[in-house]
Point group: C2
Chain length 110, copies 2
DNA sequence: AGACTATTTGGCTATTTGGCCAAGTAAAGC
DNA sequence: GCTTTACTTGGCCAAATAGCCAAATAGTCT
């Protein structure tokens, strides 16, 4: 039963990669307020529809998004609201300038 | 005072990008157990020392790591322990197969 | 069926990223 | 001051990623 598949590390990386792009991150942020169709998201990130569609495919394959077709439109939504806490962590890390002198306590929890 | 600098989105992206690579993520995970020197981390990810050093620079510039030179060795440590909760979120997202039928409740908190 | 709208997919190039080697720097030991 | 150890930096090439256009698909409407 050689059901090896991607390791935990690889799965983690694919989720993180799916957020590691300005347009994709902006999409994830926007979807925190509820589902949106592809054309709305295209307006948000202002790039070609095909480009947006490919970004969404990456996020979907990483497990970030669910899609649902209703009529002509396809609606995407976050599969997990835990992104909120995820972003809080990211913001704490990005709050201070890189390795600045007094940055040792960028997060209070230490 | 045109002190624009990188936007919040760009800063978030740079933190996330710094984790979006198997070696870098493995390093971040390892550092959850405390600081390590570069040569230890090189053993961990098993690539050229120069490659590891560049990975560490990326993580440092993103604000993820602090470095400290003691004697000949350079020690790196996480600047923020909130990565734990970050990874919990990532794991919830990566736990289920992409958009599988019954995956709507990959996270209980909904 | 044909036209129209919304989205995805394929193909192509341009840019970015990753990794190795070689050279450079910095602290320690002799 | 020369050697060794521990790392960083620069250069170069290969591979991955991003974005655009054109073509394909799917659902609506007439």
């Amino acid at each position: 039963m050689a059901k090896t598949g991607p390791s935990r590390l690889e799965r983690r990386v694919s989720v993180i990669k799916a957020l590691a792009h300005p347009s994709r991150l902006a999409i994830a942020e926007a979807l925190q307020n509820g589902e949106q169709c592809v054309c709305d998201l295209r307006d948000l990130v202002d790039s070609d529809l095909s480009t947006v569609s490919k970004h969404l495919a990456i996020m979907r394959e990483a497990g970030l998004l669910d899609m649902e077709k209703r009529g002509l439109k396809v609606f995407y939504r976050l599969r997990c609201p835990c992104l909120l806490s995820f972003f809080e962590c990211v913001d704490q890390l990005s709050a201070k300038s890189p390795s600045a002198p007094s940055s040792r306590d960028a997060c209070r929890s230490r």
